[in-house]
Symmetry: C2
Subunit: 222 residues, 2 copies
DNA sequence: CATTTCCTTACGGGTATCCGTAAGGAAATG
DNA sequence: CATTTCCTTACGGATACCCGTAAGGAAATG
C-alpha cells in the first residue's frame, strides 16, 4: 500500500475525516494534511528533496480565498505544479464537481488517476479509489461511471470549445472568423463557423445560439 | 441562547464538525443532525407535535442524490416547507454558494436570518451567526457583506429575470412577448422587450444578447 | 489515375436582432 | 386642469443570423 499520502483540502473537518478513515481502513502509515495549495506544494517539494516523496496526493479542486497571498489558487494548478516536479506521483481528486465532461478533462488534460465526488458515500469511494490507484487502475465515482462508458456524448473538439467561448464573449461569427484567421486556425470562414455552430445546435438540440450557449454553460463546458 | 437546534447537511464529517463546535462554543444544549432534507423536515414536524419545537435550523443548500426516494431535494425546499409549518423558526444557511445576488435572494425570498459561506473561517462565522441571530440580528459572511452594502449592483426585477430565463431557453423576443401576453404580464410588446433587453445589455456592458446571457449565468442570476 | 467522400468556402433569400425615431397614454407635478 | 415626465408600443432601416444550395479542393479509396 502507499506509504506516504498528502491530503489537500481547505475545510478542516473534511481534511480530518479523510485522514481518519485512511488511517482506519487502509495500511497507510503516514498521512499529512494541507489547507492551502501553496502549503501542499511546499510539502511535496520538501518531501522530494528529503528523498521521501509522497506516493499519492488527494486534493480538492476549489480552495476558498483567504487573507494569505496565494500563488496556487486551485486544485488544478496544484496538480500541474506537483506533476511537473514529480511526474510519477499519483493523484486523486476529491471534490463536489460532478459534470462528466469536466471530470473527463481532468483525466485527459491533467492525467489524474482517480476522481471521487464528495457526497454521502464519498469517503467509502475514496477508500476504493486509493486501493484501485495503488494497483495502477483508475477510479471514477459510480455516479459518473455510467456517463463515462456510454459514448452517447457528442465529442467536442478544442475548436468547438474555443468557438463557443468566443461566442459567449459576445463576438459575432464574422469576428470569430477574423480571430481564427489571425491565429491561423482553420476553418475560419464565416460560412464554416456558421456550419459548425449548426452542427453543435443540432447535437445539443438547441433552438438558437443563445440557447446553445446557455446549455453548454450549464453542462460545464465553458 | 437557543435551546434546540437542527443541523441539516449531507456530509457526515461537516455535520459532526458543526455539532461539536456548537457544543463547545455556545450554550446550546441539544443539537440534532439530519443528512437528508426529508429527515430534517420530519424531525421538525415531530418536535413541533411534541411541543418541543426547534428554535433554529442550520442547513446546507445542496444535498447529493441518493438511492432513497426524496421529496425535498434542496435546502431551499426544506426551508420553505419548514417555514410554512413553523413560521417563527430561525434559519441559517451554511453553504458554498458565494454569489451575492443569489444569497441576497435567500434573505428576501425565503426570509432567512443568516448566511455563512463554507470556507476556512466558516465555522467561526457560524458561531457568530448563531449569536447574532439569537439576538434578532441577521448575519452574512464577511466576504459577502461588502457586496451587500455597496449598492453598485443594477437592481434586477423579477420581470428581468423571467425575460432572461426565457431568452436563455431559446425563445425569440416575439415568442417571449406572446408568452407575456398569455400570462397577462406587462409590458409584452416585442418593442418593449427589445428595449428592456437593451437596458440590460447597457447595464451589464454586454456586446449582444448571447454575451448578456453568458454574463448573467456566470453571475448566478439564472 | 479515376472516383468518391469529406471539408471548406461562397452566395442568396428569409428571419431575427439591433438601433433610432416617434406617437399615444398613464401617472405625477404644480 | 395644463404640463411634464415616464412608459409602452409601433415602425423602418441596418445588421447579424439562419438555412439551403453549390462550387472547388484535399484526402481517401480502389
Amino acid at each position: 500500500m502507499f506509504k506516504k499520502v498528502l491530503v489537500a483540502e481547505d475545510l478542516g473537518s473534511i481534511n480530518h475525516g479523510i485522514a481518519n478513515i485512511l488511517d482506519d481502513r487502509t495500511g497507510i502509515r503516514e498521512v499529512q494534511q494541507a489547507q492551502y495549495c501553496d502549503d501542499a506544494y511546499l510539502k511535496c517539494r520538501r518531501a522530494l528533496q528529503d528523498n521521501k516523496p509522497f506516493d499519492l496526493l488527494i486534493t480538492d479542486l476549489s480552495f476558498k480565498e483567504s487573507h494569505r497571498e496565494r500563488k496556487l489558487i486551485s486544485g488544478i494548478q496544484l496538480i500541474e505544479a506537483v506533476k511537473t516536479m514529480q511526474p510519477d506521483i499519483k493523484i486523486i481528486i476529491y471534490s463536489m464537481e460532478d459534470r462528466p465532461q469536466k471530470v473527463k478533462s481532468f483525466f485527459t488534460d491533467q492525467g489524474i488517476n482517480g476522481y471521487v465526488c464528495k457526497g454521502r458515500y464519498g469517503l467509502n469511494e475514496l477508500i476504493q479509489a486509493v486501493i484501485d490507484v495503488y494497483n495502477d487502475k483508475s477510479f471514477v465515482s459510480a455516479q459518473l461511471a455510467s456517463a463515462f462508458t456510454k459514448n452517447n456524448m457528442f465529442e467536442l473538439k478544442d475548436y468547438d470549445i474555443l468557438l463557443l467561448k468566443h461566442l459567449s464573449n459576445g463576438l459575432t461569427q464574422e469576428q470569430i472568423g477574423d480571430y481564427f484567421k489571425r491565429q491561423r486556425i482553420s476553418p475560419n470562414s464565416t460560412s464554416s463557423i456558421e456550419k459548425r455552430l449548426n452542427k453543435l445546435k443540432y447535437n445539443f438540440k438547441a433552438k438558437n445560439a443563445i440557447h446553445l450557449i446557455a446549455m453548454t454553460k450549464d453542462l460545464g463546458l465553458l
